[in-house]
């Protein structure tokens, strides 16, 4: 049995976020070296601030400056910092209640080791060298044994507020397509298209998934299909898609390979785009080292009768 395939899959995107009035003030404050909380109906100052009172659900907008010093309320040691974390060397994740705040803020504490960290220890903000209006403007916290710093009573009004941020997300996966897809891909490397037949409904699935979605039973019987097929339906693409190096217009078609019970999708070439039609008979065109046919072109056979493929539409 051929090996089951595996490959890395990285999913990443720079999502943006509009901040709204409260987060805008908070992050602009960090840029200016000021920490702002918001006063809730019960008098507590919430840091980081929220837009809506967690107890009464009412809108809250009463911004209050708190101190850059505070107390660790709990912590956990991080032995192996990962990509994108606040510090490159082992550090403590800490919840810090800043002086003047009623809630604690999650951040990193730069400490030589877990023995140097305890609940109740005093810490202060170490500001980042370059500040842009982001939580990373606080580089981290550091141990502090001086006096509590009195906040200056900032109003929360800024002349050039930050209104939006970019929050890049990245997920690292190892993708394994499974036994059936691996078999399919191995066969393609020999330029053969091999599907699987459902033992119950007898339908041939291309590409195979290892189970029949209708009957819910495993499929194991390999069936070679094609290489020729019939265009069941199509569209003419007139807009260039990002990351696709294909000249427009081109035809994107559903092709029922001979012997397959559902159509796969591919580009049609070797014929002017406006002459492609439903029922056109096509064959694959391979390029060197490609996993899939580059496109399909007319095979020269007469068009298929509508009745022969209407169930595959």
């Amino acid at each position: 049995m051929p090996e089951v395939l595996k490959a890395p899959l990285v999913v990443e995107f720079p999502f943006t976020r509009s901040l709204g009035p409260v987060q805008s003030a908070f992050l602009t404050g960090l840029r200016e070296g000021v920490v702002l909380g918001v006063k809730a109906a019960d008098g507590r100052v919430l840091v980081p601030p929220v837009e809506y009172d967690p107890v009464t659900a009412e809108e809250i907008r009463d911004l209050v400056e708190v101190a850059p010093t505070g107390t660790v309320t709990t912590w956990a040691w991080n032995h192996e910092p990962r990509r994108g974390q606040p510090l490159g060397t082992p550090f403590a994740w800490v919840l810090v209640r800043l002086d003047g705040a009623g809630t604690a803020l999650l951040h990193a504490l730069d400490a030589p080791g877990p023995d140097a960290v305890r609940t109740g220890m005093r810490v202060r903000i170490r500001w980042a060298q370059e500040r842009t209006g982001a939580i990373t403007d606080i580089a981290c916290f550091e141990p502090y044994d001086g006096e509590a710093v009195q906040p200056a009573g900032h109003s929360g009004e800024f002349t050039d507020p930050v209104t939006g941020i970019v929050t890049p997300a990245r997920l690292d996966y190892t993708y394994a397509p499974g036994r059936a897809q691996s078999d399919y891909i191995h066969a393609l490397s020999g330029r053969r298209t091999v599907g699987e037949r459902c033992p119950s409904c007898r339908k041939v699935y291309v590409p195979p998934r290892g189970a029949c979605p209708t009957c819910g039973v495993a499929t194991v019987e390999h069936v070679e299909v094609g290489p020729r097929g019939t265009v069941t339906t199509f569209c003419i693409v007139n807009i260039k898609a990002k990351n696709l190096d294909i000249e427009v217009p081109y035809v994107y078609a559903h092709i029922a390979l001979d012997g397959a019970d559902l159509a796969l999708h591919a580009r049609i070439g070797g014929i002017p785009y406006d002459q492609v039609r439903m029922g056109l008979r096509v064959e694959p065109v391979w390029t060197e080292d490609a996993r899939y046919p580059d496109h399909y072109r007319p095979s020269g056979e007469p068009d298929a009768d509508y009745e022969t493929y209407k169930e595959l539409l």
């Binding site: 995107f13 509009s18 809506y52 339906t233 696709l244 559902l262």
Partner: protein
């Protein structure tokens, strides 16, 4: 034991636009929720539970809305659930909320759906580079356009039908202050003159990308009796799903859609939907889906949907108005789009749809679908309670 009748007593939505840079996502959902509460003349304290829905996580990179939005939706100390069924999610979310009331688990439930498309890229979310797989060569329109061509072939519809739908929906949107697109001076010639993106789909026949939210307050008989404005009563609601691809899948008229509609009609005692239902708000992201869904939902025989569109039956002043609000073609915050359909159906039977009100609308169907035409959710609401 019979089910508790469910009433819609509050409806709220944001003014949908391309980008709401002035609010956070919390601020956006809050606006819709407060409008629904105001419509119902209720406060956060009157809500027993919150049911929220949004588009697939990669669409806007927001993975746990039920966590992040609890404060904004007054859900602290209350049950809060999240529902997830691709583009149909707004409809499914409302039905989960309705079921909680029908089962007498809760008396009054706030349900809400949203999307801030401006902070993300749905096309990116739909085309992750899965190893070993061939990339989708054509985008969302390219996925659906071949099915439109298949419908045209099967039904023999003239190729101008899609443009008629877009022209109608954009004119309806002019009467809806919440709609995203307000194309003053729209003409059929302009619709027909727009470039073909994915032939047979023109640019003018596709939906916009919107920021918006929609909320509803659902309640029991006691809640409805206290409501300041007429309620909409749930007469039938159902969901169905099927795989994206399988041998024998009918993309033009998916079985899950037909079965879902049949279930709704059975619950509501609808023998002939064309005769018994006054208007339909359906999920039409590309114009041709109007005639396709008219057939799938049983308003026309197979191959006959386009004739209703062509003869003006689905116009706002027609015999069976479709997409009175302007529909998805005029407003598309994907996660909220399904709920907007359900909410429009409720507004119509409450007589509160404003300039796009259909006179005498007593039974109206709300419809949503999503994924590769594989998730369906629908409700039929009426001006009178069930059994009346």
């Amino acid at each position: 034991m019979s089910k508790e009748p469910v009433a819609v007593v509050g409806v709220g939505q944001t003014r949908h636009v391309a980008a709401r840079r002035d609010v956070s996502i919390a601020g956006l959902v809050r606006e819709a929720a407060q409008r629904a509460l105001r419509d119902a003349e209720l406060t956060w304290n009157d809500i027993d539970a919150v049911v929220i829905g949004k588009a697939p996580d990669f669409f806007e990179g927001l993975m746990m809305p039920e966590l992040y939005l609890a404060d904004a939706l007054g859900a602290v100390g209350k049950p809060m659930l999240r529902v997830h069924t691709a583009g149909s999610v707004g409809g499914s979310t409302a039905l989960v909320a309705a079921n909680l009331v029908a089962a007498r688990v809760h008396g009054t439930v706030l349900t809400l759906a949203f999307e801030k498309q401006s902070e993300s890229n749905a096309m990116w979310g739909l085309s992750l580079p899965i190893p070993f797989q061939q990339p989708l060569l054509a985008g969302a329109g390219g996925f659906f356009a071949p099915h439109v061509r298949a419908y045209m072939r099967r039904s023999g519809a003239p190729d101008t039908i899609g443009a008629l739908v877009a022209y109608k929906d954009r004119r309806n949107a002019l009467k809806n202050p919440y709609a995203h697109l307000h194309e003053h001076g729209i003409t059929l010639e302009k619709v027909l003159g727009a470039p073909m993106l994915w032939d047979p789909i023109r640019y003018s026949e596709t939906c916009p990308s919107s920021d918006g939210a929609c909320a509803m307050v659902l309640t029991d008989r006691a809640g409805a009796a206290r409501a300041p404005r007429p309620p909409a009563w749930l007469l039938g609601g159902a969901m169905r799903s099927e795989p994206t691809l399988f041998a024998g899948k009918d993309f033009v008229s998916p079985r899950a859609g037909r079965d879902c509609a049949a279930d709704v009609y059975r619950q509501a005692g609808i023998a002939d939907p064309r005769r018994d239902i006054d208007a339909v708000e359906m999920y039409v992201p590309f114009s041709w889906y109007e005639p396709m869904w008219l057939e799938n939902l049983g308003f026309a025989e197979e191959g006959g949907g386009w004739k209703l569109t062509e003869s003006g039956v689905t116009e706002l002043d027609g015999d069976l108005p479709v997409n009175m609000s302007g529909g998805v073609l005029s407003t598309n915050p994907i996660g909220a789009s399904g709920m907007l359909r359900f909410a429009e159906a409720a507004l119509q039977v409450r007589g509160l749809a404003g300039e796009h009100q259909v006179d005498g609308a007593r039974k109206v169907l709300g419809h949503a679908y999503g994924g590769g035409s594989q998730f369906f959710s629908m409700w039929l609401v009426g001006s009178e309670p069930p059994g009346a």
